[in-house]
Amino acid sequence: MEKEELNKIVNKYDTKSGKLLGILEDIQRNEGYLPKDALIYVSKHLNVPLSKLYSLATFYSFFNLKPVGKHIITVCTGTACHVRGAPLLIKEMERLLNVQPGETTSDGKFMLTTKDRSFSLNAARCFGCCSMAPVIRVDGKIYGYSTPRKLPEILKRYGWIEEK
């Protein structure tokens, strides 16, 4: 990651409250994940042990330590979405995207990425759109009242091609 970018982010926060989380969130927003060299830079610059930053990065679900796909699909697994069929959506997504289910990486994160890095699939707890359950989100856009049958149509908007 560019030193200039990092510098801007690190210097943006002038109060200690919320500073570390804010910096990591900004880096994540820029790069889609937390690159190792970025964490090392922050560690040196703020005089925070690397182990503490790595601890933060692995504790909070939001942070990815590996690069992610071009499009990120998040299936909501909140209670309202669960009773209205979220597990079936995940299963169907895994099948359509041909990603291996049940993968947990060494840092314990659930983020399945297709081989060509075009899509990443993960689950979130709740977007607060429970009245339109079940809900999935692609790159920040929310699709409510989802069903397994509607998924191919949504994916196609992001360049997915159906394998016959």
Partner: protein
């Protein structure tokens, strides 16, 4: 500064305690047996292992079960230990411990002491676990490395039941001093350190290798370099230059020689 002495009641008997002293500390002092894994006098109370639970029957705060390592002694506090309820919950906790750390003899012994010899729950066995399936995540190693040594070479990774302790990215640490304080405080002997030739290998911590210092006199590798630098930096007055590269045995030999010579009235050059 003398702390005010007050009276608290434990199991019906009155004991003296310093106001603000933890109840666990009082019990340890007066010989009342309370098990604990995450408690260390040198560290701030952590409240993670939940074994030291006692029941508050009277006092200014909330009544009921609470950890004695975080309960502070105040005038009028009345607690009981070892009630049927406490024993029942403690036994279930020990079943969980046995399942969590099947490789630990210490846990087996501790559980057996309180009457728990087997567990209903599936044992967590990780092949090639750097902590030998002995870690109970009491966090003492992390806290000692951070709060006491100020290094924070190791820390928690992940969250929940996936939590483990190790170096960032599971790579060799470049800040570890090799002091071994972590192994010293570990209640289950999970942390493995081995001195191999001129390096101290922190086997549990991603095989981090720390350079050992060679004694100028006898030639043996006796202590990690960074640890010596760290310690020397804290000494006031500063340690004499001639002693810095000597192992403890050779240091003793040199200082004894000096004493003998001084006693024999002979001046010794290189005073400073």
């Amino acid at each position: 500064m003398a702390e005010k002495l007050i009276n608290i009641k434990i199991n019906g008997k009155v004991y003296k305690a310093e106001e603000g002293e933890t109840v666990l500390s009082v019990c340890n002092r007066v010989g009342i047996d309370i098990p604990a894994l995450c408690y260390n006098e040198a560290l701030a109370p952590y409240g993670a292992c939940r074994l030291c639970m006692v029941e508050v029957v009277n006092g200014p705060g909330k009544k009921g079960m609470t950890t004695s390592c975080t309960l502070r002694a105040v005038e009028g506090l009345e607690i009981v230990t070892d009630t049927e309820k406490i024993k029942h919950h403690r036994n279930i906790l020990f079943e969980l411990y046995l399942a969590q750390a099947p490789g630990s003899e210490e846990i087996r012994k501790m559980a057996a002491k309180y009457g728990v010899t087997k567990t209903r729950f599936a044992e967590k066995v990780k092949p090639l676990d750097p902590l030998g399936n002995k870690c109970v995540l009491c966090g003492q190693c992390v806290r000692v490395c951070d709060e006491i040594m100020g290094t924070a070479a190791i820390n928690y990774i992940g969250r929940g039941s996936n939590t483990r302790i190790n170096t960032p990215y599971l790579e060799e640490s470049n800040v570890c001093m090799g002091c071994g304080a972590c192994a010293e405080v570990c209640p289950t002997g999970a942390i493995q350190i081995e001195d191999v030739e001129d390096k101290r290998v922190m086997k549990s911590w991603s095989n981090t290798k720390v350079q050992l210092k060679k004694c100028k006199s006898c030639g043996r590798y006796f202590a990690p370099d960074p640890m010596l630098d760290f310690t020397y930096g804290k000494l006031d007055p500063e340690i004499k230059e001639e002693l810095k590269d000597l192992c403890p045995d050779c240091r003793r030999k040199l200082l004894s020689k000096k004493e003998i010579l001084i006693n024999q009235g002979e001046a010794y050059k290189n005073e400073k």
